[in-house]
Each structure stands twice: as structure tokens, then as C-alpha cells.
Amino acid sequence: MTVTAVKNAAPASEEPVKAAKHRNPLRFGVLIGLLVLLLLVVAPLLVVAINAVKSPSDYASNGPLSLPGHLYWDGIVNFWNRVNFGQKLWNSFFTSLVVAVLAVVVSILNAYALGIGRVKGRIWFLVFFLVANLLPQEVLVYPLYYLSKQVGLYDSLWSIIIIFTVIQSAFGTYLLTSVYAEFPTELLDAASVDGAGKWRTLWRVVVPVSRPTLGVLFTFFFIWTWNEFFLPLVFLISNDNQTVPVALGVLQGDRLMDATTTSASALIGILPAMLFFVIFQRTLTRGITAGAIK
């Protein structure tokens, strides 16, 4: 909704903009300053990209800033095969997807009881979920590590899936409860007049109406889980179970990593994230705004 507000505002300010364009010669100074800053921010990623497709000999003779003489894919291909990167991509994708779905479902159920049902003691539940959000993972990690070994889930993707479902849904519950607290009562009343029970009302009325917010939560949970490092590092020790960040992170300082291989590995770590960024950009920007209201 904020996005449309800006679009509507733009044409109205067209006239003074034109007048100002002629009056202010400094305005390109501001733009150039911002462009330089932007270049500084993006430069590390650009440097990684050009060196990921450069042959080691090209790098040795021409350095990191020259464009590659020819496109050299061997660095990426070799690295991909060496770490079995397809497997890591699948592990990350599967974990993030399942966590995002389950965490959204748990958030819906919690928020339905707290935001719409206003169950007794809901303030304390909300305080609990707020504190759960704040906890550093270090304070949970050792018992979880110990318990997962007891129940045979250590070094299994499911350990990570269960843990992150709970951690992400703590945030989701907190955010969604405030959304559901404002849920239009007319819709709920209409559903109950139609004879719908609580279960039906939830899935036929509440969930469809709040779909935009749920989409934002899903996006957040997916990307956050994809980017997680600490717990997957502890729990996923065998090669076949590693996620992308863990696989790349533990290879740092490895003897086999030279300059171009390292940038190749960084590039294939960056690309999926960029892809999500492009796909989800609209939801993401809206979602960050939603996070601000919490």
C-alpha cells in the first residue's frame, strides 16, 4: 500500500521538479556522490564475479581488477563437482522450504488463538514469544545438540527443520498476532452466522484475507533459514547433509582454495541469494515495513 501511495504522489510533484532541474546545478553532485558510494558497496561483489570466471594464470599475470581474457568456467565447475554443490543446494532448498511452510502454519495457529481468540494470559504468551525471538542461539545449542543425539536426529536435516520451525514461528507469532488483533470482526461474525466453526473460519476466512502478510512471512522464513549458519554448522556434520553456507564456510582456509577458486565458490554462494532477492524483492520491501510495525 505504501508503494502505491508513492506512485500516486509522483505525477503531482512533476511541475516543481522541472523548475528545480534548471535552478540547481549542484544536484548532479549529489547523484555522483551517491553513485560513488553505491559502487563501493557493490564493488566487492563485482570483483568476485569477474575473478570467478578468470583462469588462475590470467589472475597471476593481470591481477584482480582486469576483465578476464576469456571466460573460464573450470574454476566454478571444478569447485561445484568437488563439493558436490548440487546436493548442498538441494539440502538448503528443502530445509528452507519445509521450515517456511511449517513455521507459517504454526504462526497462524498461535496467532489465531492469541490475536483473534484472545485466550487468557495472551500477554504472557506474547512476552514469551518476544523473549524467544531475542535469545541467542548459543544459549540453546548445547542442550539441543545433546538431545538430538539422544533421539537420533543429530546430523539430520530434520533436526534443523524442527528447530528453525520453532525459532521462525516465534517471530511469526509475534508479528501475526498484532495483525490478527485488528482483524475485521464483521468477517468473523458473518462466518459464524453462516454456521462455520472455528476451524472452518480459520481456513476459509482468516487465512485467505491475511494472505499478503503470510506471503511476507513465508519469504522471510525461507531466506532467513537459507542464510542460517550457526546451528547448521553444529548439527550437519557429514558432507551429504551440509547446507550451502556451511559447505562454503568450512572450506575457508582450506589449502586447496586459491584466489580464483575462492571467488568461484563465493559466486555460486551469492547467485541463489541474488535470485531470491530478485524474485522476492517486492514482498521483501513490503515485509521489512511490516516488521517495523511490530
Binding site: 581488477l65 489465531y112 548445547y142 524442527i162 520453532v166 525459532i167 516465534a170 563465493a266
Partner: protein, 296 residues
């Protein structure tokens, strides 16, 4: 208000999961912090010994000292810089050029935030590598080889290098938050300011900063907490080294848990960290509430 009947059943899955994954482990860690335990065998109750040891441990104090500097790099600098940049983008670039330019800049600055922290660690670890890293090669090629350093490997510079990286990493988050907050501002406020002949600084102070106080608090709290929790970048960039120059509490706890098998001591470190984070969050919340009441 009294609760409506029949909704509590919807909390059951969430409560069971939270108890198993959050409540029980939390209690176990706090309990373990009062014991001596290497992860196998019996836990031996030793009272406050881990805590007294902690407060005498130089590494513990220096890890919190490092966190203070990282709060500057991850919370203070990005928030202030982000505030200025968001105001320039919203109030100047979007109006004098176009919204498209403003959102292009916003996306560009936000880019480092979407990349997994472990991967940003790899990117910078490579750029700052003393032998084959891009930065030293660039300094060489423009005749400034005297400035080349072992950026992450020299205890004198390692923490400052990490701080610079964290500013780069965090900057986009406040910009996005503040720009979305600015969209709430009624344009007529700015028009009125123009009519009254307000200076750019006055516009910034009296309208921009004033109107986005809620976002300002949220950004400051979340980035400060993120700084207290930092782990991934430290693990990948420096491993807490060289000679503990970049050691942070979370990594300190990790080392005690999984490298030294001093689980009781690691639990004490993470318990202290947790208490600090929760106290800080509630102090911030109080301040925010008070500021909102004063504003209303």
C-alpha cells in the same frame, strides 16, 4: 478482556514445540552453567564457580570490549549514515530525479544484506587475503604497496577490518527501514516547511528525524542485538583470531562447547550474553514507549 472460549486448543502445537525446543534447552543451559561438565558423564554441581571464573577471565572481558566496537560498526554508524542517506534518497533524489533512481540506490545498498553471512565472509576473506587478496593487489598496482597490510591476520588491524566489513554489510537495512517509514509522512508537512523558508537541516531535524522515531528505535535495537549475537562472519573471517583479537562472546561460547568440551563454562558465557540481550531489549522498549507517550 476475558478470553473467548475454545481457542486455546490452537496453541497446543506451538506450545509443545516451544517447550521442547526453547524452554527445556534454556533451562538446561542455565542449570549446566552451575556445573562442571565435559559433555559426557555426570554433571558436577559447582555453584557460581563458572561465573566467578568468567569475571576474572580476560578473554571474556575483551570479547565484550570487541562487542562494544562492533555495536558502533553494526548499529551506531549504519543507523546514522542510513538516516542521512534515506533522507537524501527520499527527500532529494526521489523528488529532483525520480523514484526509480531512489529505489535503485535502495536496492543496491541493500544487496549485501541478502547474501548469506558465511558467503560475505568468504568474499571479504578473499579480498583482504594478504597474499592473493584483491585489496593488496590493487594497492600494489597504484603504487601504494606501503599501505598493504595483513588486514585480517594482524592483531592490530583485524578488528577494524571486521568493523569496516560490518558497516558495509549493515548499511542497507536502516536505509530500507527509514525509507519505508518516510512514506508515512504527509507531503504537506514538507510543503509547509518550504513556505516557512525552513533550511535543509531544519527539514531533516524537525520533520524527517522526528517522524521516523519508531523506525529509528526498531533499527537501533535490532542492529544492537544483531551485534551482540554476531557469529558467522567472525567464524569465517578470523575464527576469533589472530590471538583472540576478534573474539566475541558467541564464538567464545562455541569454542568452549565444541572445541574445549568445557560445557559448563560455555553455558555460563551464553547465559550472561542472554541476560544482557534481554535486559537491553526491555530497556529499549521502555524508552520507546516513553518517547511515544511524550510525542503523543
Amino acid at each position: 478482556m476475558a478470553g473467548k472460549k475454545g481457542y486455546a486448543v490452537y496453541l497446543i502445537p506451538g506450545v509443545i514445540l516451544s517447550v521442547a525446543i526453547i524452554v527445556v534447552p534454556l533451562i538446561m543451559t542455565v542449570y549446566t552453567s552451575f556445573t562442571k561438565w565435559n559433555g559426557v558423564g555426570d554433571q558436577k554441581w559447582i555453584g557460581f564457580d563458572n561465573y566467578t571464573r568468567l569475571f576474572e577471565d580476560e578473554l571474556f572481558w575483551s570479547s565484550f570490549g570487541h562487542i562494544l566496537l562492533l555495536i558502533v560498526a553494526m548499529a551506531v554508524v549504519p543507523t546514522l549514515l542510513g538516516l542521512v542517506l534515506a533522507a537524501v534518497l527520499f527527500d532529494y533524489v526521489a523528488k529532483k530525479f525520480s523514484n526509480r533512481w531512489a529505489s535503485l540506490f535502495r536496492s543496491g545498498f541493500y544487496l549485501p544484506q541478502v547474501i548469506p553471512v558465511a558467503v560475505t565472509g568468504i568474499v571479504w576473506g578473499w579480498i583482504l587475503h594478504p597474499d592473493y587478496g584483491a585489496l593488496n593487489k590493487i594497492l600494489d598496482s597504484i603504487g601504494l604497496s606501503g599501505l598493504a597490510r595483513n588486514w585480517l591476520g594482524d592483531p592490530k588491524y583485524a578488528l577494524y577490518s571486521v568493523m569496516a566489513i560490518m558497516i558495509w554489510f549493515q548499511l542497507g537495512y536502516p536505509i530500507v527501514m527509514f525509507m519505508s517509514g518516510l512514506q508515512r509522512i504527509d507531503p504537506s508537512l514538507y510543503e509547509a516547511a518550504d513556505l516557512d523558508g525552513a533550511s535543509l537541516w531544519q527539514r531533516f531535524r524537525k520533520i524527517t528525524v522526528y517522524m521516523i522515531r519508531p523506525e529509528f528505535y526498531v533499527v537501533l535495537v535490532t542492529t544492537t542485538i544483531a551485534a551482540l549475537k554476531i557469529f558467522g562472519q567472525i567464524f569465517v573471517l578470523t575464527g576469533g583470531g589472530p590471538s583472540n583479537a576478534t573474539l566475541v562472546p558467541s564464538y567464545f561460547a562455541y569454542k568452549n562447547f565444541f572445541e574445549k568440551a568445557q560445557v559448563g563454562y560455555g553455558s555460563a558465557i551464553s547465559t550472561v550474553l542472554t541476560v544482557i540481550i534481554i535486559v537491553l531489549a526491555f530497556v529499549f522498549l521502555r524508552l520507546q514507549n516513553r518517547a511515544e507517550k511524550a510525542g503523543a
